[in-house]
C-alpha cells in the first residue's frame, strides 16, 4: 500500500531489522519509579541514571518540590491561557525576575519549552532579506527556527571560526545578520570557542544568539554558561536556555539586554499562540534558579565527576567525543548502530541508563552512547559506572 506514510518505509525497515535481533527497543524505555536524580526503577530493576541532563540534580530538591506543591494549592493545575491573555500568573513574573537576576540581564521571556524558545526567537528576529549564519551541528530547534522564518540560512562547519568569518563577509551590504551558536554541543559534549567567534561576529556587524541549554547552572563562575566562562557574556545579544536540564522541570527562555526586547511578547508566535506553563512548573523553576545561583560546591563536584568518568572510560579503551572533558556530557563513540544498541542493552542489564543517539541527530552519521553526569552522582557511583561500561564493552566485543 502506498500512501503518505510510504516515505517512512526505510526507517520502519531499519527499526524492524534492529529489533528482530532481539535487542530491547532503546527508544521505548519506561521509568517505572524514580528514586532520586540519579536512580530509577526500569524493568523492575534499580538503574543508575546517566542520560537525563539533570546536571544539578534539582528534581528532588525539597525546596523546589515544596514550591511546586504550594503553587498547585494556590493557583491550580494549569493556566489554560496564553501569556498575553489570561496565562501570566504571579509565578511567571517570579521566574522571569529570577532569570534576570541569574544572568544579570534586563529582560527575560519564558516559553513553554526550550524548543519553542529557539523556534520563536530565531524565526521572529531574522526576517526576509536577513541572514542567519549558524553552526552546522546546531540543535534541531535552531534549524526548525530557521526553517520557520523567512531569512536566508547559511551554515558553516562546526566550530570553524574561519568558515564562519568567510560567510559573514560574503553577506550583501546592508542585510541584517544573526549568528547562532551553542555553548555546549550536546552530541559530543564539546564547547564552542565563543570568545573568538563572538568577536568575529561583532566585527562583521552581526547580532549574536547563544544557546546555553547544556551549560546553565554548571559552566561559568555563576553557572551562566560558556559565554560567562570565556568572559564574553556581555557581548551576547540573546541567551537561549531551558528549564528541562539543570533547572529540573520544563520550559524555555530567552534573556537579553536589548532595549526593545519586550516587543517580542507581542510578535513572537510560539510565545503568543500557546498556553503558558502551569503554576507549579514556574514556581519550581523560580526556586531552582535561585538555588543555582549559590551552587558553587555542586558545580565543583560535577566537574570532578566529569573528569573521573572521562579518564576512566578513556583508560578502559573507549573512544570518546572529546579528548578532554569539556562539559557534563561524555559521549562514547560506537562503531555502528547495531553494536551501539547491543552495548546500550548490555548497560541496561548492568543497571545503567545512558542515551543512545544516532543519525540524523548525530554529527557525521555517528552512533553515540551519550552520558550526562549529575552533581548528585557520588564518587562511588561514578566508579561503579566505569566498571559497568568495561564489563558491557567486553561482553559486546567493543573492548578487546
Amino acid at each position: 500500500m502506498t500512501d503518505l506514510f510510504s516515505k517512512f518505509d526505510p526507517l520502519i525497515e531499519q527499526r524492524r531489522a534492529l529489533l528482530s535481533t532481539g535487542v530491547t527497543d532503546p527508544f521505548n524505555l519506561v521509568m517505572e519509579k524514580v528514586l532520586s536524580p540519579t536512580e530509577a526503577i526500569c524493568n523492575g530493576k534499580p538503574t543508575i541514571l546517566l542520560g537525563t541532563y539533570n546536571y544539578m540534580g534539582m528534581t528532588f530538591d525539597p525546596d523546589v518540590i515544596e514550591a511546586g506543591k504550594q503553587a498547585l494549592d494556590d493557583f491550580g493545575s494549569g493556566t489554560t491561557g496564553s501569556r498575553v491573555l489570561n496565562g501570566t500568573y504571579a509565578g511567571h513574573r517570579l521566574v522571569e525576575d529570577a532569570l534576570k537576576e541569574f544572568y544579570g540581564m534586563d529582560h527575560a521571556m519564558v516559553f513553554s519549552t526550550g524548543y519553542q524558545a529557539n523556534l520563536g526567537i530565531i524565526s521572529t528576529i531574522a526576517g526576509k532579506g536577513d541572514y542567519i549564519v549558524l553552526d552546522i551541528d546546531s540543535h534541531a530547534s535552531i534549524w526548525d527556527g530557521c526553517k520557520m522564518g523567512d531569512a536566508e540560512v547559511v551554515p558553516f562547519k562546526h566550530n570553524d571560526i574561519e568558515a564562519m568569518e568567510k560567510r559573514l563577509k560574503r553577506i550583501p551590504e546592508g542585510a541584517g545578520k544573526l549568528v547562532v551558536l551553542e555553548g555546549v554541543y550536546s552530541m559530543l559534549g564539546d564547547i564552542a570557542p565563543l570568545k573568538e567567534m563572538i568577536k568575529v561576529a561583532k566585527d562583521n556587524g552581526a547580532m549574536v544568539l547563544v544557546d546555553e541549554a547544556h551549560s546553565m547552572g554548571f559552566i561559568g563562575e555563576h553557572g551562566r554558561g560558556v559565554a560567562e566562562a570565556q568572559g564574553v557574556l556581555d557581548q551576547v545579544d540573546f541567551v537561549i536556555g531551558t528549564f528541562s536540564k539543570s533547572v529540573g522541570t520544563v520550559g524555555g527562555f530567552c534573556v537579553s539586554n536589548h532595549p526593545k526586547f519586550e516587543i517580542m511578547r507581542l510578535v513572537c508566535r510560539p510565545y503568543v499562540f500557546t498556553a503558558s506553563l502551569p503554576p507549579s512548573v514556574v514556581h519550581t523553576a523560580a526556586t531552582s534558579i535561585r538555588k543555582l545561583m549559590h551552587a558553587g560546591n555542586k558545580r565543583a563536584h560535577l566537574w570532578e565527576n566529569s573528569k573521573v568518568l572521562h579518564k576512566g572510560l578513556t583508560d578502559a579503551g573507549f573512544q570518546l567525543g572529546t579528548k578532554e572533558p569539556e562539559s557534563a556530557i561524555i559521549s562514547v563513540i560506537m562503531p555502528d548502530l547495531e553494536r551501539g544498541a547491543m552495548m546500550w542493552e548490555a548497560l541496561l542489564h548492568e543497571g545503567l541508563y545512558v542515551n543512545l543517539a544516532r543519525p540524523p541527530a548525530t554529527p557525521a552519521n555517528m552512533t553515540l552512547l551519550r552520558c550526562s553526569l549529575c552533581a548528585e552522582h557520588s564518587a562511588e557511583q561514578v566508579q561503579k559506572i566505569i566498571g559497568m561500561f568495561t564489563r558491557a564493552g567486553k561482553a559486546v566485543g567493543i573492548l578487546g
Binding site: Y131, I136, C146, E152, V153, V154, P155, F156, K157, A163, K166, R167, R170, I171, P360, A364, N365
Partner: protein
C-alpha cells in the same frame, strides 16, 4: 566567469565527491543519481562557496536539484 569556465571549475570540484565515478550530465540529480547524502551536500556546497567566494544559502540550495541548475545558480551568484 562565464558559464563554460564556471562549469569547468565545478567539474574539478565535484570529482573528489563523486566517489563511485558516476558519469555526470547537466540532468544528473545530486540526491538521486550522485547519491549525495546531506553531509556530502554540506561539504560540497562549502567547497563551491569558497572557490567562487559566494554564499549559496539553504533556501537557494532547496531550488537546486541537478548539476545544470547548480552551474546556472553559481553563474548567477557571481553577478
Amino acid at each position: 566567469m562565464d558559464r563554460a569556465a564556471t562549469a569547468e571549475k565545478i567539474a574539478e570540484l565535484i570529482a573528489p565527491f563523486n566517489k563511485k565515478g558516476i558519469e555526470i550530465t547537466e540532468a544528473s540529480t545530486f540526491a538521486g543519481d550522485l547519491e549525495f547524502d546531506s553531509l556530502t551536500v554540506m561539504d560540497f556546497v562549502a567547497e563551491i562557496e569558497d572557490a567562487f567566494d559566494i554564499i549559496i544559502s539553504m533556501n537557494q540550495q532547496a531550488e537546486i536539484e541537478n548539476y545544470g541548475q547548480l552551474i546556472d545558480a553559481v553563474v548567477k551568484l557571481q553577478g
